[in-house]
Symmetry: C2
Subunit: 471 residues, 2 copies
């Protein structure tokens, strides 16, 4: 009753041209949807296997960097789970992946400072970094706040130095992903930029708004024409310390690690499908990425997105839902350091002439879901977004809305198929406490918050299956 | 720019009678507010002392049950913190509080079961419970799901038995407070109801949706005409175990505790004020409750609400804001087991002929804020709610909305003054993982989430101060 009234209210708000009577008619038509969505949430919050699967991925398998035996185990585990769900198709999609190895040691130490003397900093190699050689590197440190500042300083100031990138994530951005976007260029491109001017190594302030002792890893890359130099992340507390010291005196730092790139390895995307009864060629994809960084357990990033995606088909199967369109669940490989799984998937999909009517990725942590971000090809997006906005009253009781924004790295390449692409948007406040760190473990995931994401994704899959986005 | 456009959009949505031009004019008028609110958030997210104060309250002082030395320390600490903020008035308001003591032992054990043999259950005395006597109580257990079932079973089934209340919180309620509201009568009234029929003790399934090993305490009360019997909470995992065993065989349980009620103690609400420059007799209150249960550290419940309230005046002072109306911050005593601080405050306020134009309580945990619930006297509420809804475009960038609902126990008695009463509504998914348990510690509070609550409350105080709610 209450939801019916609310619905009418919202429809009138959203579509002022609709008369009250039309709104009431629509409200009646939507009652069945509201009831089915309520069943989705009831099922996910009572019976979803999402958390149990995540327990296995994190505690039994653990970190799953591309090319490792653990990544292979995760492929086999999720394939088997898809088998138990009774899907129409379960298959592996081969792809080659880079295989970076952290090595056996990594250390950063202030070796010459009047104030701090000799002091270890909490540090991890950035993903993709070369090693320092067994003797390590010792050099004076130059602090910068941006890539541009590196260009400004140039070889005169930087040759032979360790460049320390220390621009913090902006804590006043309400959405922490925006703060991340405003700082991550230092990690991704810092080594290539500093190497250009003869720097011998790079330290990067960890990507988090807080002050703590946890160093963050994450991807970085070199430029073909620039000699690669080693790059490591240090904790924000240590970045603050180092910066304070540098204001008063010159500081020498010793850094040493033996990370390295191995040969590429064969790996797989894991794909399952429920075939559509009416429009089997219209695909609705849900997915996350199976690989993770090699520290922590890849719980939020992106074990959560994987088990939520599996949970979507589990719930729809348990509710005995027979989709009109084909629902496909994909565990993408190698999002973190190459996107080879995603790229392979796109390539094969375009070759096969597939059409993804919709695709949803969950890769922003397993926290309480708040929205779906939506993007799409300009030919269809404005009209599509307007049409799906009619579903808002159905999502409102669950605290979900739509917003404009990127979907997910693994599905972004599907845009030219002219379907709607979505990213699950959870509460972002805690994500960068754990992202790419040893703290990304199962204990940081709340079971209810995870399941609410499963239910939200299943709801959007259901609505896309029922209505598409063109009517 | 973007917020101005959004604003016009929202105003048109909310007040279809407004023409576009009027909306644009209003948007301009609101620009100053939008800028000041942005400054509030910037300040709170960069400089708020909320988290440091919470650190002191939880780690230096710890649990603060009414009547204890720790509660007295919390009074003195927050009084001193108010002094440092340079408020116009800082004072203590005396009130007498009950002083319940947990005692030195509490245990629950299955003593006779073919399946489980002898087995300790994780248990805590419920707040207010009498003790069992030093020999404890051993009796057969009868499981019930409701107070009504107790009446139905009556003396024939319950005399001499331990009654086990085992109706779970409904996990499918999206807002966990609704699930709590649907189950907590068992804890609050179970002992009085079972005692009526000659039961000798009560066990209550802990108030959480999850399955874990953490027992929850919380208030319960006796009836004057019913002999009191001891009452203890057991963890949800142990409740499940006990229920399984009871399906197969009779189970005897031993329970023993020596909690007791001591004589009332003198205590205080702590009150600070910034006097209003134009309308000093119109009070805008922000507050939380200073007391907590005696296990854990009272971090979310309600250290968070206290330090957020202090943070509101800290931020407004630092921004050099000169309020038109009087802003009053109150640390209420004894919300958990008596509400004596709240009742004393109301009594004195009505006697003094005060008018609270607005009051905001934060007592639902320090998680990411989502809304303010609003309530008020029927004479003013409908119009007031309509008027404050004009502020929604200013709150939207921060993810805050208004909803109908109760405000807070400590301020609810102010309703007859015909001001608007608000409760801060944070994300509720994790709250009952820690509520009234040993797990309610500082580590479960996220600094940013806490500060976002401080900022949201300061924003609402600012808007109430600028506009009241009658125009």
């Amino acid at each position: 009753m209450r939801s019916g009234l609310l619905l009418g209210f919202f429809l009138v708000l959203l579509f002022p041209a609709l008369r009250a009577q039309q709104a009431a008619d629509l409200a009646v038509a939507y009652q069945e949807d509201a009831q089915f969505i309520r069943r989705i949430y009831d099922d996910a919050l009572r019976y979803s296997s999402s958390y149990d699967w995540l327990h296995y991925l994190t505690k039994r398998i653990g970190a799953r960097l591309s090319g490792t035996p653990e990544a292979a185990a995760a492929v086999e585990y999720t394939r088997q789970m898809m088998d138990t769900l009774g899907l129409d198709v379960v298959r592996l999609e081969p792809c080659m992946v880079p295989h970076w190895q952290r090595g056996t040691y990594e250390e950063v130490r202030i070796v010459h400072s009047n104030k701090a003397g000799s002091r270890d900093l909490r540090a991890v190699s950035l993903g993709g970094s070369i090693g320092t050689g067994s003797m390590g590197i010792t050099a004076d440190v130059v602090e910068v706040r941006s890539l541009d500042e590196v260009d400004t300083l140039g070889s005169a100031a930087l040759a032979g130095k360790i460049v320390f990138f220390n621009r913090p994530m902006d804590p006043t951005r309400i959405n922490t992903f925006n703060a991340y976007g405003g700082a991550v260029d230092q990690r991704a491109l810092g080594a290539a930029r500093a190497g250009k001017y003869g720097a011998v190594g790079v330290l990067v302030r960890s990507m988090t708004t807080g002050l703590d002792d946890v160093p963050h890893t994450g991807s970085m890359s070199y430029q073909p024409d620039v000699t690669p130099i080693p790059a490591m992340g240090i904790s924000t507390n240590d970045a603050e310390l180092l910066s304070r010291l540098l204001k008063e005196e010159s500081v020498r730092v010793f850094m040493r690690n033996n990370s390295s790139m191995s040969s590429e390895k064969p790996s797989y995307n894991v794909i399952g499908e429920i075939k559509g009864s009416l429009y089997p060629d219209e695909i609705i994809l849900v997915g996350g990425h199976l690989d993770s960084w090699d520290i922590g357990e890849g719980a939020h990033d992106d074990g959560a997105g994987c088990v939520q995606s599996l949970g979507v088909v589990e719930t729809l199967k348990r509710l005995n839902y027979k989709p009109k369109r084909t629902i496909r669940v994909v565990m993408f490989m190698n999002e973190e350091n190459g996107l080879r799984g995603g790229r392979t998937y796109w390539e094969n999909s375009y070759k096969a002439g597939e059409y993804h009517l919709g695709a949803i990725e969950s890769d922003r942590g397993g926290f309480t879901p708040r929205a779906f971000s939506a993007e799409g090809h300009p030919d269809i997006f404005a009209e599509g977004y307007k049409n799906i906005s009619r579903w808002l009253p159905l999502l409102e009781p669950y605290g979900i809305t739509f917003e404009l924004g990127g979907s997910g790295a693994d599905i972004s390449g599907l845009k030219d198929q002219k379907g709607m692409l979505f990213g699950l948007v959870p509460d972002s406040q805690r994500y960068f406490d754990v992202h790419h760190t040893a703290a990304d473990v199962l204990e940081s995931v709340n079971k209810r918050e995870l399941e609410l994401g499963t239910a939200a994704m299943a709801t959007l899959v259901y609505l896309l299956d029922q209505y598409g986005f063109k009517e």
